[in-house]
Symmetry: C2
Subunit: 496 residues, 2 copies
């Protein structure tokens, strides 16, 4: 040790001492993590915003962050009832104020009664406030036409991401050829690839079918699974419905086929259903995996393991900043469920304001409540505008030569395919960039529009896409779509 310390002192005198923690010595799994939704393109968008503030001249006056599903950042107003009840919970002195409706006060009192010390400032139990878990279970029952839900199978979380990571953590085991493999859709929401990389699990890609509006095809699941077996141990299947980034809404038949496949192949099912309120297309309807599973009866209903995730960040409320969410587990081994609770307890509890918000989302005002009319009107206005924006997006993109866009049946993104001229692809390769990253960076620099390249979500080799939210206000969205289409035409010309 003396020698080594001496060497180090020498190095210090020469100013050569290296850090303990370097890119080289750090956790290699963390190094491999990628998360495109907030990746380099968003860093550049932040820089551009700063330059604009400093008065640097640009060909645009504002950066439009269409990279992330963040409704309120795009100007959507919070739902009045939700914020009234939350303000009352935060500052109960307001409970005597005449400026709040009675039902909002009752709801706040009910939530506070269920909090430690009657305060949002106390920790909750790690699985979340019992009353709220019960309300979530009732919500699920109503949603699923009366199929029972047990509050003991509901765990509140810090947004849906937190719960998804927790369930994936439970599933990861093995080394080398026996490492856990997890099937994820391509394109996917990059939380999945990032988490699997961090946990050292094997990502098994199954491709959604762009020609059929991004539908999930069970024969493709079979292909992916067969190919994966032998170099890992596939144990779980992730499904995102409605789709992110695809906007596809799965049919009931498809869901049944997926469940049969998971059952036969012994795969734990993770159903990311955070966009369950966001279905727009005529003929499309949200079917929960839980409901379909239960209606399939034996042997599926009583045995297939399932975790379904939901969130307060999406839907009509778009309360991303509060980080509310939950997971319902179905047919999970009781001892494993105890282990999950133990794991959650290390982080103490999900944010209590987010839990309170979730309670309001799962049990909104009833028709007889004073706040019902306004709540309903605000909710419908948001959903109707989202439906119009979904339609508009599809229309404008499909009118542009070289861009094709599947219908946005649900969720809040389009994932259009763009033709990129071979010379642009070559130029990107010279720059060491994915071709669609090159396109998106140029788009950002010249128009201020920030979208995420398809390569961040995964796509078939040789195809190029980007993900763009449909969240900007309708007229702004129209301008945006047109500007983007014109930029694509100009870009195509430039490299032809």
């Amino acid at each position: 040790m003396a020698l080594s310390t001496g060497d180090q002192s020498q190095a210090v005198r020469n100013g050569l001492r290296t850090k303990v923690l370097t890119l080289h010595s750090m956790n290699p799994r963390v190094r491999r993590v990628e998360y495109a939704v907030r990746g380099p393109i968003v860093q550049r968008a932040l820089e551009l915003e700063q330059e604009l503030r400093q008065g640097v001249k640009k060909p645009f006056t504002e950066v439009i962050r269409a990279n992330i599903g963040d409704a309120q950042a795009m100007g959507q107003r919070p739902i009045t009832f939700l914020r009234q009840v939350l303000a009352l919970c935060v500052n109960p002195d307001l409970l005597t104020s005449p400026s709040f409706p009675d039902d909002a006060k009752k709801r706040a009192e009910r939530i506070l009664q269920a909090c430690g010390g009657h305060s949002l400032g106390a920790y909750s139990v790690s699985s979340g406030i019992q009353l709220i878990r019960e309300d979530v279970a009732q919500y699920i029952e109503r949603r699923d036409g009366g199929i029972p839900a047990d509050p003991n199978n509901v765990f509140l979380s810090t947004g849906a991401s937190d719960a998804i990571v927790t369930v994936l953590k439970l599933l990861v085991a093995g080394e080398g050829h026996t490492r856990t493999g997890v099937l994820i859709p391509i394109p996917q929401y990059p939380l999945y690839s990032a988490t699997l990389a961090e946990l050292g699990a094997v990502q098994v890609d199954y491709y959604l079918d762009e020609e059929r509006a991004w539908a999930l095809d069970v024969s493709e699941l079979h292909r992916a699974l067969c190919q994966a077996r032998g170099h890992c141990h596939p144990r779980a299947l992730c499904v995102i419905n409605p789709g992110n980034p695809t906007g596809q809404v799965q049919t009931r038949e498809c869901i049944e086929a997926v469940i049969r496949f998971a059952f036969e192949e012994r795969l734990f099912l993770l159903a990311d259903e955070v966009y369950q309120d966001n279905v727009y297309a005529a003929g499309s309807q949200f079917h929960s995996f839980k409901k379909v599973l239960m209606e399939m009866g034996p042997p599926y209903a009583g045995q297939q393991e399932l975790a379904s995730f939901h969130s307060t960040s999406k839907g009509y409320m778009g309360e991303c900043g509060f980080r509310g969410g939950y997971v319902e587990v179905v047919n999970m081994d009781a001892a494993v469920q105890q282990q999950m609770l133990k794991l959650m307890s290390v982080r103490l509890c999900p944010p209590v304001p987010g839990q309170a918000l979730l309670d309001l989302v799962v049990s909104p005002p009833a028709p007889t409540d004073p706040s019902f009319a306004q709540f309903q009107a605000e909710r419908q206005a948001v959903l109707a505008e989202l439906a119009a924006k979904a339609k508009l997006t599809e229309q404008v993109f499909n009118e542009a030569p070289g861009i094709s866009c599947n219908p946005v049946q649900g969720a809040m993104y389009s994932f259009p395919r763009v033709q990129l001229p071979p010379r642009a692809v070559e130029r990107a390769q010279e720059l060491g960039l994915a071709p669609d990253m090159f396109f998106c960076l140029r788009l950002l620099e010249e128009t201020g529009i920030c979208v995420v390249p398809g390569s961040g979500f995964g796509q078939r080799e040789g195809t190029y896409h980007f993900r763009m939210t449909i969240l900007p206000p309708l007229e702004k969205l129209r301008l945006l779509l047109e500007k983007l289409s014109r930029f694509h035409a100009k870009f195509t010309l430039e490299y032809s």
Copy 2:
């Protein structure tokens, strides 16, 4: 595959199909995680509460959860100013209400201006709202007598736990004999042991000196390090100051010695300083690792890597439910810092209400503000009562035969040592329980007092302790301490 499916179908007909995810097949690292603060004893406390509600007769009328530092659950009232500003942020319609002081309104407007869409409901950037990071940096500068802090080195988090886990994640690498080792104090706060187990890192124990009021002794660090080398690669040293569960406050000399040790042995320093506002004992003073490091000058100041953690959950405000916190990194490699930001971005952002709360904690009302007098009075009242409770705890326990308690210089727990008669130890072993777990369970069943056995934090072989918060209201705490002491006497008699 056909055969295997056939076998499974047979098993299904026989009702023998096992779950995909079982205790046996799950992540073995997660299985090894332990977290005593919310462990089996707390599960039992919850059951007892339920039994009391159902009218089951018990030798007590309420369960007192002295297991966790949860001030508001113990009846501490939130600080008025914090909740006023938060309510205004949650429901900006209140900004026109005459019932809020002007400075609260100004603070709310300032925070909302810095939020996406001027709403707490938008995501923030993953490192936290820039304005709040700047306020945190200014707080650190004031705290450290003007030593500069760079907002770019401040990352907001979901409570301190989240940030601690993130930094530990970066540090974990290697396999077998080269696996990362992390030095942690014994007794420790079990977030550390739980996280290291989950990450597959090696926990290297160094013992605090109970005979010297739980002081940290650098020769013990040397012993622990030497012993660890050869079977792992020690790369980090965790320090908790003020101590949890010990209540010890480190001297400046001790901190200097720790920094020199970390520098010489090339260890990344993690300083858990969440109790920095909670110092009670005459002669004790909080010195931040950052300040001491900077004042030590070269070669330490410019090179020693350090991460310091703080939280909104403790201090005088006790806002645990909001999950606010931050980490300041010092001398961290720039590329690693980028990797940390990337890792945080996968979880999108810390809860925005918690960020807002943190902002108020780090920049409370100034003496010229209308809210100053009330804020200051409320703050002082909480801290003065905590100081009285710390003193009382030490007194009552030290008067009890067979219990000895070091001074509670800071933080919010006592960690008294209890003598357990040999026959009680034998009885515990027969039951397969740690002796102090046996004691704590009996205490809970007979008195309703819930404390955490020392074995959950670590202790020298053959010694027994428990951790108890000092948070119950003063008179209640007195009764509690006396009841606990009497129970110990009775327990000792029973097993003598």
